[in-house]
């Protein structure tokens, strides 16, 4: 029987010698040019990391191509980042320029370091997920296309801006703490195939799966029914009962959320909050989405103070000002009605007109 439980390759065998030598000894770093990091060790050695964009969804050809490059300039050593970029690890400074040259020739985009807009953390979408309300890869490609200059450093931003895309409210990308999050949502309640349900639906489980108690039995049809007023279109029931379908091309689409962050730098981590409740799916370009994201980035970039992330900027000026400056409509959808809703109500006379 095959080998099991042996775990991943030992990272120690995957590190370039310069890192092995300076492991835990790094003193500081600089960003000599966009997309390039220079880490200096207490031993005096220096490591250059060159970050390039990736589609995340890649082919064996891509894997082999970056391997070729790594072998040519980095002794075969490279890494990926937590935002799915590739980093070439250059220990021989002499090889830095040639590497950058080849990357440029091969149309790799170098950037995403420091004050820039890096790659989008995204999810499966229509590529592979049964729950996908939209396509994460397509949205990511289109949005980053408009952000290329912010990635490469041609255009600058006041602080990091982390963009995430999730194809449903499960938020596999963990959008819930991103500066800008694009999330696929449903707007219609699930439809039940009573015929099928009467055969296969485990009614008690299905009823239990609903967080809002919107599902009740329909004895006549030996099936269930959903109370529209209570259904928050979370799709949870569809995971439990195959006779329930929620996909609805005409009404499904995406929502846009802003102001979240994960880091503890300066301010505490924050949740992303609703900016735009709904934009229809409009493949292949999703122009309304890319326009909205561009608008948000530009408004933030031109109004925030240096070092102020989206949520910190909004925190300083206030949400009422945010909606005014961005000229986004504030609707009933923006009013929280979930568990901790009343902690979001404005319990003070302090506000801006």
């Amino acid at each position: 029987m095959a080998r099991t439980d042996f775990g991943p390759p030992n990272y120690k065998t995957m590190l370039p010698p310069i890192i092995t030598r300076n492991y835990g000894k790094w003193l500081y770093h600089e960003v000599p040019q966009p997309g390039v990091l220079r880490h200096v060790s207490e031993t005096g050695e220096e490591l250059y990391s060159v970050r390039v964009a990736s589609a995340r969804l890649v082919s064996s050809d891509f894997i082999r191509d970056i391997s070729d490059i790594a072998e040519k300039y980095c002794g075969g050593f490279l890494r990926f980042t937590t935002r799915n970029n590739v980093e070439f690890l250059v220990s021989d400074k002499a090889k830095l320029e040639p590497l950058l040259k080849e990357l440029d020739e091969k149309d790799y985009l170098v950037g995403g370091v420091g004050l820039s807009i890096s790659n989008i953390v995204h999810t499966q979408g229509w590529i592979h997920c049964k729950s996908a309300v939209t396509d994460a890869s397509g949205l990511t490609k289109n949005i980053m296309e408009t952000m290329v200059d912010y990635f490469t450093g041609k255009k600058s931003v006041p602080a990091r801006c982390r963009i995430a895309v999730a194809c449903c409210v499960n938020m596999c990308g963990a959008c819930h703490c991103s500066d800008i999050a694009v999330v696929g949502i449903h707007r219609t309640i699930p439809r039940i195939n009573h015929e099928l349900a009467s055969k296969i639906c485990e009614i008690p489980n299905t009823i239990a799966s609903c967080p809002t108690g919107a599902i009740r039995p329909n004895p006549k049809m030996k099936s269930i029914e959903i109370n529209h007023d209570k259904c928050m279109m979370c799709g949870n029931c569809t995971v439990v009962c195959p006779a329930i379908k929620i996909m609805d091309p005409e009404n499904d689409g995406v929502s846009i959320w802003v102001g979240g962050k994960v880091s503890n730098a300066r301010s505490k981590p924050m949740f992303s909050r609703l900016a735009i409740p709904f934009i229809p799916n409009n493949p292949p370009f999703w122009p309304e989405v890319t326009d909205a994201v561009t608008h948000l980035v530009e408004t933030w970039a031109s109004n925030a103070r240096p070092g102020e992330r989206m949520g910190e900027w909004i925190g300083r000026i206030g949400w009422e000002r945010f909606f005014a400056i961005t000229d986004l409509p504030f609707t009933d959808k923006h009013l929280d009605d979930f568990t901790h809703a009343n902690t979001t109500f404005r319990s003070t006379t302090q506000f801006k007109y």
Binding site: R187, C234, W319, E320, L335, T348
Partner: protein, 402 residues
């Protein structure tokens, strides 16, 4: 009669301890009343017992009241009438205070004469809601006492599932910061809603309080289902000369400006001028508070309306949140009254028994409530939009599908 009463006073060693010291003593007050009032005596004895036994001795009253009213009186009976015969019945009458708590000595004396005649001669000046609490009388004395009070123009306040007695700060009568005529507003609304106050017809209590400015000296936002708070819409009035005097007198403008919640304040040390970014000012009052001679509220005045304030029972305390950012507020306050009616109607229709307005809105959602009373959502109503993706969509908002 006097002597006769004296004799009967039982020993109250524990309470007697509380006659000592500098702070005015409620025990001394009760004893003063006890000199001529059996009921006050009875109270003294029962409270002494409570101090010894560490337990109260009151039980809930049956419904008692006066003709034509459904409230204004809180019934109270001793849980041990044999032991405390003089405290057997000890109802309180909630008498609607004068707006702003202003009185003439004449009025107060007239009140005291009536209360000595029909009650214990003890008062709360005032109750937490605002009423004059006439503390302790018998069922039979309620009506004659009420009639006598009527003679001197004192009516009862609210209790039960009714509009409760309003209260307000001294407002324009004695405060330079008042953006509204708080006392007149309270008086006008009180007169307008006499029926709602005296004949409980709502799921639970409904409280309205009025403060002349965001300092909220009536603690309205924490204690009322509907808080009317004076505010303004234009620029703070600045007298630079007076500002300089404060600085000359040693006030640190750095510290003053640092406390502005929105960095709307800036002191230019060179030109010695204080600038206020009006669009950033959230009217917190801080700068006006510390420099009353130099800074003054704006000229275009009105109110901010907060709803939902309440104590913890039973879903947790709430501080009122903004329903209307700004509304003009001049007599006869028609716009305010229209809103009160819309809100109380919605609440009366949808509220469960003993469900306060704030709890109702929390249960049904703010969006539903706004739709119900016909107001549109504003970012000023919330400190932040939703963070969860569970948006409700109505059938009419989407394309119909099979």
């Amino acid at each position: 009669m006097f002597m006769d009463v004296e004799k009967k006073v039982a020993a109250t060693p524990l309470l007697d301890e509380l006659e000592k010291g500098d702070w005015p003593s409620f025990v001394t007050e009760i004893k003063k009343a006890a000199k001529t009032s059996k009921m006050a005596q009875g109270l003294l004895e029962q409270v002494e017992a409570s101090y010894v036994e560490k337990i109260g001795h009151w039980k809930h009253g049956g419904i008692v009241g006066v003709k034509g009213y459904g409230g204004g009186v809180v019934g109270r009976y001793s849980d041990d009438p044999e032991r405390f015969p003089d405290a057997r019945e000890f109802h309180t009458m909630r008498v609607n205070q004068v707006p702003g708590f202003f009185y003439t000595s004449e009025k107060l004396r007239a009140l005291a004469d009536i209360w000595d005649k029909y009650g214990s001669g003890l008062y709360n000046m005032h109750g937490s809601t605002g009423d004059i609490i006439l503390l302790g009388t018998t069922t039979e004395n309620l009506q004659p006492c009420f009639d006598a009070l009527g003679e001197i123009d004192f009516d009862l306040g609210g209790s039960g599932g009714a509009l409760r007695t309003l209260s307000c700060c001294c407002g324009e009568a004695r405060c330079e910061k008042s953006c509204i005529d708080a006392m007149d507003m309270m008086y006008d609304l009180t007169m307008h809603y006499q029926n709602e106050m005296h004949r409980p017809a709502w799921p639970y209590k409904f409280k309205i309080k009025i403060s002349g400015c965001p300092n909220d000296c009536a603690a309205a936002s924490a204690r009322s289902d509907m808080a009317l708070i004076g505010t303004w819409r234009d620029a703070i009035q600045v007298n630079q000369e007076e500002v300089r005097k404060y600085v000359a007198a040693g006030m640190s403008m750095v510290h003053v400006c640092r406390k502005c919640p929105t960095e709307a304040l800036d002191w230019d040390a060179k030109t010695e001028t204080l600038s206020v970014k009006t669009e950033d000012c959230v009217r917190c009052m801080h700068c006006i508070n510390v420099m009353p001679k130099a800074l003054h509220i704006g000229k275009e005045r009105g109110i901010t309306i907060q709803i939902g304030g309440k104590a913890p029972v039973v879903k947790g305390a709430m501080i009122g949140w903004i329903l209307v950012p700004f509304m003009k507020a001049e007599a006869p306050y028609t716009e305010i009254k229209d809103l009160v009616e819309k809100i109380t109607e919605f609440w009366a229709e949808n509220g469960k028994n003993r469900e306060r307005l704030g709890e109702l809105v929390e249960r049904l959602s703010l969006a539903t409530f706004l739709e119900g009373i016909g107001l549109k959502p504003l970012p000023q109503m919330v400190s932040a939009p939703r963070a969860n993706p569970y948006i409700f969509w109505k059938e009419e908002e989407v394309v119909k599908n099979g």
